[in-house]
């Protein structure tokens, strides 16, 4: 596998793609690539990006998305474009597909549809893992993950990025070859002779006693311990609901809800999107009735420590499957999906996440990624092959090599 990374902050999509392409081609010895993974800020013209890419490298497979912040080995850009060019080794296979008109479909069905389409592309080839990009503004996504796993397999490793633009409220674009979808999800399945490693962590710790969700439907939590759900936060923060509403974005990141998942050591985090007049909490992701929850607390330090752990976990998973004498020879790259909430918390320290990942993976490992509004990943490391969960506030490091 040969990998090249290029980035640009030019506002003209034509110039930006050309500039990034020129840099990325150096990484693959100016040869033709099989796959291009593109992440670009939401203010670009995506048709121009795709046309320019196809013009510069005809026939190349393209997958990617827009994002509120673009991550690359060169740092974080609110406006910019990062482009990975990948030249697959012999025996390595990829297949990409999509499911559109999501708003008109049940999440479960959309997941199943994408799963089916992805599976159909890899006949008789051992499949390794999958990457998914999903328009996060389409609503609840736990059922989508469930549908996906119904088709790909309950323990099939998968990393997904849910994308919205909370800063400028720009439309999210999902890129697949020459199509730029908005009401859709796109995915890619990887198979054959390749290695991968996934690391997912958040860094928040439980605080206070457990509470029980006594009434909820989907992502709307009406009561906790038979009290209006908002009361939990009002009690803990010692503040009025009106004040809570004002500070919600801040509070939601600092003190998300932690879901106690039976059989798992880590808590699943849920941000609160809004507070209803009846005191119900609208969360980013479902919380089933009867779930035991905790108020979670995190700091910049625990957040960055989790980043280091996620990167280390991905490296361990990746190298664990490779014979020691080949470890240095294998070329690899990393996809990083970090929650926008983490960016909000870390602010000016956000670049440190990338520095930590680079230091753990090695400076020569190209990194590309995007800030997300939700993440799909197993709760434990991929080797466990555990159930897929919809996360908030995690950083996900996926290393791919071969």
């Amino acid at each position: 596998m040969d990998i090249g990374l290029g980035t640009s902050v030019d506002k003209n999509p034509l110039v930006a793609v050309k500039e990034a392409m020129r840099q990325a081609k150096e990484g693959i010895g100016n040869e033709t690539a099989d796959l291009s993974i593109v992440f670009a800020s939401g203010d670009f013209s995506y048709s121009s990006i795709l046309k320019t890419l196809a013009g510069l490298m005809p026939g190349i497979s393209i997958i990617g998305s827009s994002g509120t912040g673009i991550i690359s080995s060169h740092g974080i850009q609110q406006h910019g474009l990062s482009l990975l060019l990948i030249r697959l080794s012999e025996g390595m296979f990829i297949h990409s597909s999509y499911s559109d008109n999501l708003s008109a479909k049940e999440s479960l069905r959309a997941g199943e549809e994408l799963g089916e389409k992805l599976m159909s592309g890899l006949h008789n080839i051992p499949r390794s893992f999958s990457t998914i990009f999903y328009n996060g503004s389409m609503g609840e996504s736990s059922n989508f993950a469930y549908g996906l796993q119904e088709k790909l397999g309950r323990s099939f490793p998968l990393v997904g990025a849910f994308l919205t633009d909370p800063i400028r409220s720009l439309r999210t674009h999902l890129l697949l070859n020459q199509d730029a979808f908005t009401d859709a999800c796109v995915g890619m399945i990887w198979g054959g002779k390749l290695n991968f490693g996934i690391g997912t962590k958040h860094g928040w710790k439980p605080l206070g006693k457990p509470h029980t969700v006594t009434s909820s439907v989907g992502n709307v939590v009406s009561t906790i311990d038979d009290q209006p759900a908002v009361q939990l936060y009002a009690d803990y923060l010692g503040t009025e609901v009106s004040e809570l509403k004002k500070e919600l974005k801040h509070i939601s990141v600092l003190y998300p809800m932690g879901l106690d998942v039976p059989g798992e050591n880590e808590y699943l985090l849920r941000n609160i999107i809004s507070i209803e007049n009846d005191g119900a909490l609208i969360c980013r992701g479902n919380i089933p009735e009867g779930t035991s929850i905790r108020i979670m607390i995190g700091t910049n330090e625990t957040c960055l420590e989790a980043t280091r752990q996620a990167a280390e976990e991905a490296v361990n998973n990746f190298t664990g499957t490779i014979m020691s004498h080949k470890k240095q020879q294998i070329k690899k790259f990393a996809l990083v999906f970090s929650s926008f909430s983490r960016y909000n918390l870390l602010r000016r320290m956000a670049g440190k996440e990338i520095e930590i990942i680079k230091a753990t993976l090695g400076e020569d490992t190209p990194i590309a990624g995007v800030y997300t509004s939700g993440e799909l990943a197993p709760l434990r490391e991929a080797a466990y092959r555990g159930q897929l969960y919809f996360h908030n506030q995690t950083v996900n490091v996926l290393i791919i090599g071969g």
Binding site: K209, Y236, L237, G238, Y255, R347
Partner: protein, 491 residues
């Protein structure tokens, strides 16, 4: 048997009762423990609440502190940049996108109200495409009064100080395409006033009091720097005006000097040609007078002879006058080049003293020279310099009464030799000192009334010395004598 059974059941009942009591105690004890545990959990939960409340306060403080530190750092950076700029456009250019982003914003505009144009002029545009800026400029034009009033009030306002839902706030959000902002007036003391806007599209950036303070400081800094630039420009312009005037005056003076030189040359040429024209008839007059006086044409009656002798004498004086005039004219016009060669001053002075010793003896004047040790040779035209010494010493003899003293001092100065000829004569009035080297100027005193002179001697001295790149001057006090000084270059 019955009694045995009754005793057995009694003991069994007692035992069961004991067991029941014991169990019940244990349950009660467990319940106490559970209650205790529950209380502990509740207490810990209360502590957790305290932790959260403290944590959120700490977070807010930390965030505000971080913002202030970054803000101060950015302000210091901008201050350094704008305080070194003395041009308005460079002051505005110091505010860059990177700076604005460091302050947590991604858009910025600055407008200045141009009194002459009667409208706002864009000075900073960061983050707005041309078409959006045009719309904003139109909006400002339509609402000029509002913005001018805002500037006059000298008060910053922002998404923090304006209540949510207020029409102005919503209008600003809409026109400037931002969801949070700070707007602060730029108040130059006398120059054009304006305002600075920073804003963000992000819905996640809460504006705080700290932001308001920071942008106010930045706008004040801008205003102060613009004022400094204006004052600098004013001073610079005044200086330029002064330089221009000096240049004009210098040009006028140069022209006047050139004109004066032209006139002087014309005068010299005129004097020279007149002198030449006078010379020929004078020579004839003098020749005939000499022949008549010699008696070769017959013995003249005594009266006629005396008159012819007078005619001869006056002709000599007229020839001398014409020669002096010719010399001055030639030197002034540069026609006479000094044939400079090394010469010893001692010899020149001794020869002059020797030449004039008879006149000194007649008036019993003590004429002496004082040459310092190691006086180097001078670079002079020997004939002309002798004329200088003769002229000056002759003058000194003429104006020094009997038993007087004349001293010639020679000493080294930087770059040459200075010669002072001092006498114990009648001295020169102060008002005549400046004019004494002018042609035909004669001091109005008793001696000059008796002794004839052309008034060209000192002018000739001055011209000869200047032709040697030297200087001539005089110091004198009435009744106390005079000192004539001049310098000469040494070898």
């Amino acid at each position: 048997m019955f009694a045995f059974l009754a005793i057995f059941f009694l003991f069994a009942a007692l035992y069961l009762g004991f067991l029941l009591t014991s169990k019940s105690d244990k349950i009660k004890q467990k319940q106490v423990e559970i209650d205790k545990l529950k209380r502990t959990v509740d207490e810990m939960d209360e502590q957790a609440k305290l932790v959260v409340r403290t944590d959120i306060e700490l977070n807010k403080t930390q965030e505000e502190l971080d913002k202030k530190i970054i803000g101060l750092y950015v302000l210091q950076k901008i201050s350094r940049s704008i305080s070194t700029s003395l041009e308005e456009r460079w002051i505005y250019k110091s505010i860059e996108m990177e700076t604005i982003k460091e302050l947590g914003f991604e858009k910025s505009l600055a407008f200045s109200f141009d009194k002459k144009e009667g409208g706002f002029v864009t000075k900073i545009n960061l983050g707005y495409p041309e078409n959006e800026l045009e719309k904003i400029e139109t909006f400002l034009g339509k609402n000029q009064e509002f913005w001018l009033n805002f500037i006059t009030r000298e008060k910053t306002f922002s998404s923090f100080s304006l209540p949510e839902g207020l029409a102005v706030r919503e209008e600003i959000n809409g026109i400037f395409k931002i969801s949070a902002f700070v707007i602060s007036p730029i108040l130059a003391k006398e120059g054009n006033k304006g305002f600075l806007l920073v804003g963000t599209e992000s819905l996640d950036v809460p504006i705080t009091e700290g932001d308001e303070e920071l942008i106010t400081i930045l706008a004040n800094q801008l205003g102060q720097s613009l004022e400094n630039a204006r004052l600098f420009e004013k001073t610079w312009r005044a200086q330029q005006e002064l330089e221009k005037r000096v240049e004009e005056r210098t040009h006028e003076l140069t022209q006047a000097l050139e004109e004066k030189e032209k006139i002087s040359k014309r005068k010299s040429d005129f004097v020279s040609s007149v002198a030449h024209e006078l010379r020929a008839p004078l020579t004839s007059i003098k020749g005939y007078a000499a022949i008549l006086s010699s008696g070769k044409l017959g013995i003249l009656p005594e009266d006629a002879r005396l008159r012819i002798e007078k005619l001869n004498k006056h002709s000599d004086e007229l020839v001398q006058l014409v020669n002096d005039l010719l010399d001055i004219a030639r030197i002034e016009s540069g026609k006479v080049t000094m044939r400079q060669e090394p010469a010893g001053l001692k010899k020149i002075i001794e020869e002059t003293i020797d030449l004039l010793s008879v006149q000194c003896k007649e008036k019993q004047i003590e004429l002496s020279s004082h040459l310092g040790e190691e006086i180097p040779n001078v670079l002079v035209d020997l004939i002309q310099i002798k004329r200088v010494f003769i002229n000056l010493i002759n003058n000194a003899i003429r104006f020094t009464p009997k038993n007087g003293q004349i001293n010639v001092f020679v000493h080294k100065i930087i770059g040459g030799i200075q010669i002072d000829i001092s006498d114990t004569g009648c001295g020169i009035p102060a008002d005549a000192l400046e004019k004494i080297f002018n042609e035909f100027y004669r001091v109005d005193n008793a001696i000059n009334m008796q002794v004839k002179g052309t008034g060209l001697g000192l002018a000739l001295v001055k011209n000869i010395i200047e032709a040697h790149k030297g200087k001539t001057w005089v110091k004198s006090k009435l009744g106390e004598g005079s000192t004539f000084s001049f310098t000469l270059p040494h070898v």
